[in-house]
């Protein structure tokens, strides 16, 4: 794609990009289903690939499904799964608001150069055995906020300044709810929720991480590994929740330099499993014995709003501003660059935030 793409759905009438034959689609009634046979990962189509001179891509109230088809032999990435949405022009704008991203084989969104606002979306079934929900590379600056991520295979959001573009990869990440992520990933050590590495910079505030394989990972510090831009990574107000020792002992992933902050809920690696239940309106916690994380990768009929009495209410940090790099406009810009919320997570008591 080398021009400008503007997709404007509405809450009542969203635009849908999907496979035509209903028999090929993933049947929600069958969830939780085996990822080997779940059509969500089939990659029926490649996705939206922006070129290096492409214009703006603006997507609102849209449902994108079954992305990540194989690139052909003549492509620069022959025989590899395409990214669901690819941006490569640091001068362009990318707006993804109030949309549903359902099923990709590898990265759902790869931001390799643009100014972005990714707000209030729901990501489900992202990545078969590898892939991030949003992979931010060099040349990209923007906000990622109020997103719900269920069942991703790798990180939900990652900032790594690779590719040599300017400006430096900058990810202002706040008020996201991330559930059951990091399980189909065959590579251990990281890739569970949020990640900063390889000279990426940004912020992480007010994020709610529920039963993720690994917590917030910030790489670096002994000078030899490709560390994150530590002087410019600011974080805190992270709400970790885990139902087993295996999860709670990786809230601060081994080998990374993330520190527990006093503003965290369940900070550090010593939390008792099940402590500080975030009390979702309809998502049973703790999970029952024998619960299979890799197939519970869907939002379905669950409701991730906070019930009254949730420890996440009122604990959000609001003394910082969004980067707001894209103009606010109903058609040519972002509809609403929502400011940081008073509650931790994507769903707010005052009904700002994620609208799904």
């Amino acid at each position: 794609m080398n021009g400008t793409l503007i997709v404007l759905g509405t809450k009542d009438k969203p635009v849908v990009f999907t496979v035509q034959d209903p028999a090929l689609r993933s049947d929600p009634a069958k969830d939780p289903q085996n990822p080997n046979t779940d059509p969500a990962f089939k990659g029926y189509w490649g996705g939206i690939q922006g070129g290096t001179t492409a214009g703006d891509i603006i997507i609102k109230w849209t449902r994108l499904e079954y992305l990540g088809g194989l690139a052909p032999a003549t492509d620069p990435r022959p025989n590899k799964a395409r990214y669901g949405i690819l941006l490569q022009n640091p001068n362009s704008n990318f707006v993804l608001e109030d949309s549903w991203l359902y099923g990709s084989f590898d990265d759902m969104v790869r931001v390799a150069g643009c100014k972005y606002e990714i707000m209030r979306n729901t990501f489900e079934k992202v990545g078969f055995q590898a892939g991030e929900c949003v992979n931010v590379k060099s040349g990209s600056v923007g906000d990622i906020a109020y997103n719900l991520v269920v069942g991703g295979t790798g990180n939900a959001f990652k900032s790594a300044n690779a590719g040599g573009l300017s400006p430096q990869a900058n990810m202002n990440m706040y008020n996201n709810t991330i559930v059951n992520t990091g399980y189909r990933q065959a590579k251990v050590g990281e890739g569970g929720s949020l990640d900063f590495e390889n000279q990426g910079r940004g912020n992480s505030y007010n994020n709610l991480l529920v039963n993720c394989a690994f917590g917030l990972a910030i790489m670096g510090a002994n000078g030899s590994v490709p560390s994150a831009d530590l002087q410019n990574v600011k974080y805190g107000y992270t709400f970790n929740y885990g139902d087993s020792l295996q999860i709670t002992s990786q809230f601060l992933p081994a080998g990374y330099v993330t520190e527990a902050k006093s503003t965290d809920i369940n900070g550090g690696n010593g939390t008792t499993p099940g402590a500080n239940n975030p009390k979702f309106v309809n998502f049973p916690l703790p999970v029952p014995a024998g619960y299979d994380f890799i197939s519970h990768d869907y939002a379905g009929t669950y409701d991730f709003h906070l019930a009254s009495g949730s420890p996440a209410i009122g604990k959000g940090y609001t003394e910082f501003a969004p980067l707001a790099v894209v103009k606010e406009d109903a058609v040519y810009g972002a509809t609403e660059i929502t400011a940081p919320g008073k509650d931790i997570g994507a769903f707010q008591q005052d009904h700002k935030g994620n609208q799904h």
Binding site: N36, G51, T52, T53, L70, P72, A73, T74, D75, P76, R77, P78, N79, A81, Q88, P90, G113, F128, Q129, K137, S138, G139, N161, A162, G163, G164, L165, S166, P167, Q168, Y183, R184, Q185, A186, K187, V188, G189, E190, E197, N198, Q199, R201, M219, G223, S224, V225, P226, S227, D229, Q231, N232, L245, Q246, T248, S249, P253, A254, G255, N269, I294
Partner: protein, 855 residues
């Protein structure tokens, strides 16, 4: 009356007249006639010295005698003993490609009996000299300057492999040897069933519409087992005879070698981009073991027919075949993920099986005609095919980790199968050459003037095929698929590859044609003390390349390049005394980029791109040489002092481009140029590089002791733009991290400042015993260029030491033994002058054999 006579005997040494007083003493008796008939064998070292002395272009020669004395196995082995030449060793320590006078192999070329050979390599036009076994060779010539009658693409030098001619007498020889590598005494060999490898991919077997499933792929070659290998086998046989009153001569030779080599060591991987201020970002520590079996086969047959003393026809057929079956066993520990201390981290276990088959079939027919005393004519026609084949190259990988758990203890996570790629790659290069030369010696100038004119037409055609299948493991339990072995692997996508039709039209699949037509004119004039050779060569190059391009781009399918070069050369020789001479030469040469590098290929390697450059210009160079020679057996048998200077225009080097740099100067998408878009590696031309040096070469025989010493000093400089990472405002840690450009001066890749070798031999002719010790020192040099400022990879200097022994028994039998790499010289690579990033050990090799020879 008795007179005393000084007996002066003039000896013809290998057909060259040289006034060389042999005896000079008073004769007390009356002598009638004395007939002394003798001839020096064409193969020995003295003969080579004479050829070096009388040659117009500067040359170094390795004689048959030197090859046998050192028990060389391949042509690459011998190259280490040539002054100014160093060898590049492959991953198991076997010498292969050569660096002549500090110039990378791409700046030199190889010929067989004066004619160019096509390359079996998929990317490069030069070949590895270890393709040619030593038993076929009569001698090897390394030319360091060119005359107009030689093809012009030798900026570094030209290696000419001269195969055995048909000798005058009947000859029969059979040789058998065995050997072993110390490495396999110390650890077992990891191998796979090479017979299980499918030579053709499912696409090639069943067609482009065939949907491949897991049954179409063999598993036995991904099942690895240890063993102690059988000893190496070397065998060759040769027979020659003349028939029909010596008019028809036949020589037939065949040989086979089966050699096991290996390497143990480690590698430290760096991130594709460094940290700020270009501090390397290291990501992995990989412990590696190589086990390789190389099998070489060769068949050589030559015929010559002498119509009479003036007309001769010669035909030969040369076939060389080399098969490498290699296992690479590696454990890759991440230094970045999950690492809390030694013995922890994310781990990948990798086992790669690789078979590489290269072969060259070379047919040559030539005629030499002497019409009269003034006019002679030579013509040749050559047909060659080079094949390269990499069937089913695959690396079985599994992931695990040793991570600190909830109890603060380190636990190993389950070993899970990782994705698998299987690649088929093959290439064919066909070459047809026609060569014709006319020599004219006008009678007026007493045969001192020699004019020659000639032409060389080269037609080359290359086809490259690349086919890759990717398999993704299905999730069977926990996070993935517990790994047991390849036979139990279950794959996603109906237990088949992600791309059942095979992926073929990648940049690796292309067809190319290259035609070079050359014509030259040369004149040679000599007096008793002077000789001058001067001439001009013209080469016209036409290249056509065709590859499938991304439908999204409007260009790239076909490329057509044409250029013409004028290459003058002048060689002056002056005889100071009968023992001393000076040679001065100038020649112009060029170096053409490989056909792969001039396509529009573009590969996205996740964090950076690699792209081809059809706008790459070929390099040209002006080369100057000054040599002083001394042949005075009383003082020194041979001494050569050479100084050289090369000025290279448009050298092409690997460069890193930023997103906004111009990738191609083609208008597209509303811009006047195409930007790189992201970090991209591409070959680019740079203004000028300078290369100069000094070579010292000496041969001295003291009684039974022989000493050959070479020392070369080389200095080169090239200026290149490189990338550097820093904060936009170095004083402000909150400012953005950006990539800027800096200029760096460095020596040419592969150039060692100091090269030296010393050979000491002890020869007892009465007992037929020879012992020889050879030491070769290769000084530190750049192993690989990095596009980042100050992050080139340097190889540490190393010294190899070989010992060989020869014993002749009863004139027909010859026993030989050799021990190589006695000092266990491995490879060590450093980056930024301080950090060791690669280390490999090859250990010693042993060889012992016997030869039966009838002359």
């Amino acid at each position: 009356m008795i007179r005393s006579y000084k007996l002066k005997i003039i000896i013809r040494v290998a057909g060259i007249l040289c006034g060389h007083p042999v005896f000079a003493q008073p004769v007390p008796k009356h002598l009638d006639t004395v007939q002394v008939i003798s001839s020096k064998a064409h193969t020995d070292m003295v003969h080579s010295s004479m050829l070096e002395k009388t040659s117009v272009p500067l040359v170094n020669i390795i004689s048959r005698e030197s090859i046998e004395r050192s028990s060389d196995i391949t042509v690459a082995d011998m190259m280490q003993r040539v002054s100014g030449v160093s060898v590049l060793r492959d991953e198991t320590g076997t010498p292969g490609k050569t660096v002549i006078r500090g110039m990378d192999p791409k700046y030199s070329y190889t010929t067989v009996n004066g004619m160019a050979i096509p390359s079996p390599n998929d990317r490069n036009r030069y070949l590895s000299l270890d393709l040619f076994p030593a038993n076929l060779i009569d001698h090897v010539e390394v030319y360091k300057s060119l005359t107009p009658e030689m093809a012009g693409d030798a900026i570094g030098g030209l290696v000419n492999i001269v195969t055995r001619p048909v000798p005058e007498q009947k000859n029969f020889s059979i040789q058998l040897a065995t050997g072993y590598s110390q490495l396999f005494f110390d650890r077992p060999y990891l191998g796979f069933k090479t017979r299980a490898v499918e030579k053709q991919s499912p696409y090639e077997r069943y067609g482009p519409n065939y949907v491949a499933g897991s049954d179409d792929f063999s598993n036995d070659n991904l099942s690895f087992h240890t063993k102690h290998p059988l000893p190496d086998v070397h065998g060759n046989i040769s027979w020659s005879k003349r028939f029909l009153h010596q008019k028809l001569g036949v020589i037939v030779m065949g040989g086979i070698q089966n050699i096991h080599t290996g390497a143990d060591g480690f590698l430290i991987l760096q991130n594709s981009e460094p940290q700020p201020n270009n501090v390397p970002g290291i990501t992995d520590f990989v412990k590696r073991h190589f086990s390789t079996t190389s099998t070489r086969k060769n068949i050589y047959a030559a015929f010559d027919y002498r119509f009479n003393a003036r007309h001769q026809l010669r035909f030969y057929q040369l076939y060389v075949n080399k098969l490498d079956a290699e296992t690479r066993d590696a454990v890759d520990t991440s230094l970045a993920e999950g690492r809390t201390g030694p013995g922890t981290g994310r781990i990948a276990i990798l086992q790669r099986s690789r078979m590489y088959r290269q072969s060259i079939e070379h047919l040559n027919l030539q005629g030499d005609h002497q019409f009269n005393q003034q006019l002679s004519f030579n013509w040749r026609t050559v047909y060659s095919i080079a094949y390269g084949n990499y069937p089913d190259r695959a690396e079985l990988t599994a992931n695990t980790g040793r991570i600190v758990g909830a109890d603060n203890e380190v636990h190993q996570t389950p070993v899970l199968l990782a994705p698998l790629s299987r690649t088929w790659l093959h290439n064919t290069e066909k070459e047809e050459d026609i060569y014709a030369t006319l020599h004219y010696k006008p009678a007026i100038l007493k045969q001192q003037l020699d004019i020659s004119a000639g032409t060389l037409l080269q037609y080359r055609q290359r086809d490259n095929f690349y086919n890759i299948y990717t398999f993704v493991p299905a999730i069977t339990s926990g996070n993935g698929q517990p790994f047991t072995n390849i036979y139990d692997a279950v794959w996603y996508n109906n237990n088949g590859p992600q791309n059942p039709l095979g992926t073929v039209n990648t940049p690796g699949t292309y067809a190319a044609k290259e035609n070079i037509s050359a014509a030259y004119l040369q004149a040679k004039f000599h007096t008793n003390s002077w000789s001058i050779t001067a001439g001009l060569r013209q080469e016209q190059t036409t290249q056509h390349v065709h590859s499938e391009a991304d439908p999204g781009t409007p260009f790239g399918k076909a490329i057509s390049i044409r250029y013409r070069d004028w290459l003058p050369s002048v060689h002056l020789g002056y005889v100071l005394t009968p023992k001393q001479g000076i040679k001065l030469s100038y020649y112009k040469a060029l170096s053409r980029p490989s056909l792969y590098d001039i396509t529009f290929f573009n590969m996205d390697l996740d964090n950076y791109n690699v792209a081809g450059n059809p706008f790459l210009k070929r390099s040209t160079a002006d080369n100057f040489d000054l040599r002083y020679e001394l042949y005075a057996p009383a003082i020194i048998d041979a001494l050569q002092l050479t100084a050289f200077y090369k000025r290279i225009e448009d050298p092409y080097e690997k460069t890193l481009l930023s997103a906004t740099d111009t990738l191609y100067a083609i208008a597209a998408n509303g811009q006047s140029y195409i930007p790189a878009g992201k970090l991209t590696e591409q070959l680019r031309n740079y203004g000028t590089a300078n290369n100069l040096g000094f070579e010292f070469s000496a041969v001295k025989y003291i009684g039974n002791l022989g000493i050959i010493a070479n020392y070369t000093f080389t200095y080169s400089r090239i200026r290149q733009t490189k990338k550097f990472k820093q904060r936009e405002d170095p004083q402000n840690p909150a400012s953005d991290i950006i990539t800027v450009t800096k200029t760096q001066e460095r020596p040419l890749q592969g150039q060692s400042k100091h090269l030296a070798n010393l050979s000491i031999s002890y020869h007892l002719p009465r007992y037929g015993t020879t012992a020889q010790v050879t030491g070769v020192y290769t000084g530190r040099r750049i192993d690989e260029i990095s596009g980042w400022y100050n992050l080139d990879n340097w190889q540490k200097g190393y010294t190899t030491l070989d010992f060989s022994l020869e014993q002749t028994i009863k004139s027909h039998w010859r026993l030989f033994a050799k021990a190589t790499n006695l000092l266990n010289a491995g490879t060590q690579i450093y980056v930024a002058n301080r950090m060791l990033i690669e280390k490999s050990n090859y250990k010693r090799g042993y060889l012992i054999g016997i030869q039966y020879r009838v002359r």
